[in-house]
C-alpha cells in the first residue's frame, strides 16, 4: 500500500470536530443528545465530541459504544474479522437524538449494522450520523448528517484514520493498493 497524501492533520481534525460539535447542538436540544461511537475509531472521536459539547454547552451528554461485528452481513464473506468487543450503552435510548460516530463512511454497511444494534436497545427519537471522512462508494441508501471532510476516492484507494488514543497521533491519509479493495 502506497501513501498518496496526508489529507488532515491533528489541527484540521480538531477544527472539523469543533464544527461538528456545534452543528450537533445547533440541530438538537443539547439535553436530548446522546453520542455513540462505533468501534474502534469512532470511540475516541465520540469522546472528543463529548468533551467539546460539554465545553460549549455545559451539558454532559450520555456517551456509549457499539461493536457491530455480530450484526455484519458479511460474516461468511470475510475470512477474518476482529475479536468481538462488548457494546456499552449505559443509558436508555428512549427520548434521545442518538448521534452515531465513525471515522470513515464508505459502503454504509457498518452504519446499517450499527443502526440495527441501536434498534435492539430501544427506540431513539432519531438516529443521526457523524463521520470524520466521507469517501463515497455507498452500497446502501445511507448519508451522513455531519461530515468532517468529503474525500472523493477511487475503489483502489484506502482512507486511513489514526487517533492519538489508539495509534499515537491524529491523522487522515489516503493510500493506494495494487488491487481493488472491493
Amino acid at each position: 500500500m502506497r501513501l498518496k497524501a496526508n489529507i488532515m492533520d491533528a489541527a484540521q481534525i480538531d477544527r472539523a470536530l469543533s464544527r461538528i460539535a456545534h452543528e450537533i447542538v445547533e440541530k438538537n436540544t443539547p439535553e436530548r443528545v446522546a453520542l455513540v461511537g462505533i468501534r474502534t475509531r469512532g470511540v475516541p472521536l465520540a469522546e472528543t465530541l463529548h468533551a467539546k459539547i460539554k465545553e460549549y454547552e455545559g451539558v454532559d451528554v450520555p456517551i456509549g459504544t457499539v461493536d457491530v461485528t455480530l450484526y455484519r452481513d458479511d460474516l461468511s464473506q470475510v475470512a477474518a474479522s476482529p475479536v468481538v468487543q462488548a457494546t456499552e450503552l449505559g443509558f436508555s435510548l428512549e427520548g434521545f437524538h442518538v448521534v452515531l460516530i465513525d471515522d470513515v463512511l464508505f459502503t454504509g454497511r457498518t452504519v446499517r449494522a450499527a443502526m440495527d444494534v441501536l434498534m435492539d436497545y430501544g427506540r431513539a427519537t432519531s438516529i443521526q450520523l457523524a463521520v470524520l471522512v466521507d469517501r463515497g462508494h455507498r452500497e446502501l441508501p445511507i448519508r451522513a448528517d455531519y461530515v468532517g471532510k468529503n474525500v472523493p476516492t477511487s475503489a483502489r484507494e484506502v482512507i486511513k484514520v489514526t487517533c492519538a488514543e489508539i495509534d499515537g497521533e491524529d491523522n487522515v491519509s489516503i493510500h493506494e493498493v495494487e488491487e481493488a479493495v472491493r
Binding site: 461485528t69 477474518a80 474479522s81 475479536v83 468481538v84 435492539d120 436497545y121
Partner: protein, 332 residues
C-alpha cells in the same frame, strides 16, 4: 468436517488471514493452542453482555442450522447450547437419545449421515463413547462440537471453567488448582488438566485410589490421595461429581464415608488460600462431594460457571461459523 472439505477450505483461506482462528471442529482441548483458547475466552468475555440486553439476541448466525445430538442425558449443557445458538439467531434443533432412532437400533454413522443430508452447519454432540466426536467430525462436513464423549473430553466445560477462573483471579500463572473426586471417569477433569496446564496453572488431582485412573501421571498433574494435602494453599478448588446413579458400582464403600474423606466442607476449605474459590461442574450431590454451606457460600463460583458456560458456547458457535479472529482490522 471431512478432510477433503477441510483441505479445500485451508487453501482458499489461509493466505487471507494470518490471525488466530479456530480449527474446523472443536472436539478436544488437546487440539487447541494456547492462542486459540485465549481467543475463545476473550470472545466469550464480551458475549456475556448480550445476555444482559433488553433484547437478548444478535443476528450473527442468522440462517445457520445447529443440531444438538444428545445421546446421554444432559440438562445444563444441552440447554446452554440451545440458548447459545438461539441468542445468536441460529436455528437450533435438539435430539435426545430417548426420542431418536438410536433406540430403534440405528448406528451413530447412519444417524450422522441422515442428519448431514439435511445440511446443518454445526453439530453439537454428547455421546457415551470416547472418540465419538472425532469419529463424527471425520464423517461430516458440518463443524462438530464435542459436548462430552465418554471419559475422553468435555472441552466446553474446561473453557467455561477457565473463563470463570480468569475472571476471579486475573491470570493463570502460578495458580494452584485442585481437582478432587472421581478422576477416573471424569472427562471434565481430563479437559481441565489439559486446558489449565496450557494456560500456565499448576493442577493437583486428588481422589480415592479406586477412582484414580491407572496412568494418572500421564496427565502431567500432581497426584494425591489425601484431600487435605491436595487443597493446601490451593487458589481454586474444583469438586467433581460422584455418579451416585451408578448405585453399587461406585468403587466406594459408601457416600457417607466419601463425604468424610473427600467432601468439601468449610473446615477443609480453610486449608486452601484465604481467597480460594470453589467450583463444581454440576449437577451437585450435596452432602456427597460438597457441603451445602460451601456450595451456597460466598466463595462459590458455581452459578458464575453456568453464566459463563452460555457465553463460552456462544463464542465457540460464533467462531466455528466463521466470525472473529485476532490481529485483523475490519473495514468500514
Amino acid at each position: 468436517m471431512t478432510d477433503a472439505v477441510a483441505a479445500a477450505r485451508e487453501t482458499s483461506e489461509s493466505s487471507a488471514d494470518d490471525g488466530v482462528t479456530l480449527n474446523d471442529d472443536l472436539t478436544s482441548i488437546a487440539d487447541l493452542t494456547r492462542d486459540q483458547i485465549e481467543l475463545i475466552l476473550d470472545t466469550g468475555d464480551h458475549f456475556r453482555e448480550i445476555s444482559e440486553r433488553p433484547i437478548k439476541k444478535v443476528p450473527a448466525l442468522r440462517g445457520k442450522t445447529i443440531v444438538n445430538l444428545f445421546f446421554e442425558p444432559s440438562t445444563r449443557t444441552r440447554t446452554s447450547f440451545e440458548i447459545a445458538g438461539k441468542r445468536l439467531s441460529a436455528d437450533v434443533q435438539s435430539i435426545s437419545a430417548s426420542t431418536s432412532s438410536v433406540v430403534k437400533g440405528e448406528t451413530l454413522l447412519d444417524t450422522a449421515q441422515n442428519i448431514e443430508a439435511m445440511a446443518p452447519d454445526i453439530l453439537v454432540m454428547r455421546h457415551k463413547s470416547a472418540g465419538s466426536a472425532d469419529f463424527l467430525a471425520r464423517h461430516c462436513s458440518a463443524a462438530v462440537v464435542n459436548a462430552g464423549d465418554g471419559a475422553h473430553e468435555h472441552p466446553t466445560q474446561a473453557l467455561l471453567d477457565a473463563l470463570t477462573i480468569r475472571q476471579a483471579k486475573g491470570s493463570f500463572e502460578g495458580l494452584r488448582v485442585a481437582i478432587v473426586g472421581d478422576i477416573a471417569h471424569s472427562r471434565v477433569a481430563r479437559s481441565n488438566v489439559i486446558c489449565l496446564s496450557k494456560l500456565g496453572a499448576d493442577v493437583v488431582l486428588a481422589g480415592p485410589p479406586t477412582l484414580m485412573p491407572m496412568h494418572a501421571n500421564a496427565l502431567g498433574a500432581e497426584i494425591h490421595t489425601s484431600m487435605d494435602h491436595a487443597i493446601a494453599d490451593a487458589d481454586v478448588v474444583m469438586m467433581l461429581r460422584i455418579q451416585v446413579e451408578r448405585g453399587g458400582n461406585l468403587n466406594l464403600p459408601s457416600t457417607q464415608e466419601y463425604f468424610r474423606l473427600y467432601g468439601l466442607t468449610e473446615e477443609r476449605l480453610a486449608l486452601a488460600k484465604d481467597d480460594a474459590v470453589v467450583m463444581h461442574p454440576g449437577p451437585m450431590n450435596r452432602g456427597v462431594e460438597i457441603a451445602s454451606s460451601v456450595a451456597d457460600g460466598p466463595r462459590s463460583l458455581i452459578m458464575n460457571q453456568v453464566t459463563n458456560g452460555l457465553a463460552v458456547r456462544m463464542a465457540i458457535l460464533f467462531l466455528l461459523a466463521g466470525g472473529g479472529s485476532r490481529n485483523v482490522e475490519a473495514t468500514s
